[in-house]
Amino acid sequence: MNDDRHFDSYLNGEITQDELPEAVRREERELRKLMGALHADIEASHVLRDNVMREIESVGAPFWRRVVDWCIRPRTIRLSPAAGGLAFAAAAAIAILVVGVLPMSDTGGVEVAADRVVTRFVFIAPEASAVQVTGDFIDWSPDGLALENERGTGVWTIDVPLEPGVYQYAFVVDGAEWRPDPRAVSHVDDGFGRENSVVIVSRERAS
């Protein structure tokens, strides 16, 4: 019986390991060692494992899910400095374009920050030659904000972008006379012997 036949008989269980010739027995021990090594657990890296699992999950998944998976999967991007610079410049140009094109608020051409609400102040004074509005929204600036006399009708108006909140204000007629707004929603005693008007500015202003 040659070595191969001895080995076949051993594998078929016809003879025991001890009955194998010494050379075959040594070979069998080597093979067993090798098989043991092959059966040992292989510790895969978590990245490999995650990627494999993601691929498995993606198979048969809806199209949108595969698109989302593709988008959120981390990737290594190789970029030359030149290409990187170009990409950055393009992104900056797009950002500038978007900021320049999108109006922050529709205010008839006047740029207004998105968190502000354009509030119209109206004061009727046909006899006045100048009307200003001042209030806590401009720290009671003595110069105030000048109202415009619409077509000389004596209806003085100004649009002021204000953050939502509650403000006190007053009109100054001809640079000297402090007058409350008769159209204001409320008036409060200013403590100095006069009255301030109150305006409530809300973000979703509907009036």
Partner: protein, 223 residues
Amino acid sequence: MSFTRLPLMARLPLTTRLVLAGAAHLVLATAVGAQQPEFTARVDAQTLAVVQPLLEDALRDSLPVDALRSKVLEGVAKRVPAAQIGRVVSELADEFRAVRTGLRERLPSTVLADAEIVAAAMASRHGVALDDLRAVWESRPNGSSLDVAVTVLGELVRRGVPAQEATEVMSYLVQERVPLSLAAQIPGKFDGAAGAGVSPVAALTEALRVLNIPNPSGRRPGG
């Protein structure tokens, strides 16, 4: 009293304490002026001497200092004498302090924004009780600002709506997150209805109807 039970400041030598106190005063004074550089430029020296200690106290007590500064600037713009500005600012600070203390006692875990303290002080001036203010705060479902709602509450009470009725309406609006744009229109619509000679409660009911806001007191039609 054992030495270890003394407060930290008391354990320090007198000179160190004086230096620390001076430094604290300097920091407060700097904070009062530095937060708004144009403030000191616009206020004359006499007025500044009167209001500076008041503003420092307000800053120390975490009161709405910007609102007090604004009142100073208003007085200066209206050419009011320094002493009168000082008196008005002092009274306003006391109002803020009272409202803040009262609300803190009733709502210990609530952080009050400056604008809310100012609005609450104005509402309190119009006759809204601290317990009614607490009811509005307690109805708030999230951290949204209540300055507009509290201002409207004060306006309704000032116009003769019973505080309980007004509080119930405003608490409902806050709880149901009715847009502030609608809440802000209530006083104006109220005035329109009240001009027709109806009672304050009926005017409020009409204002809510016009604005299509459900009336939480609907069980009492017309008041």
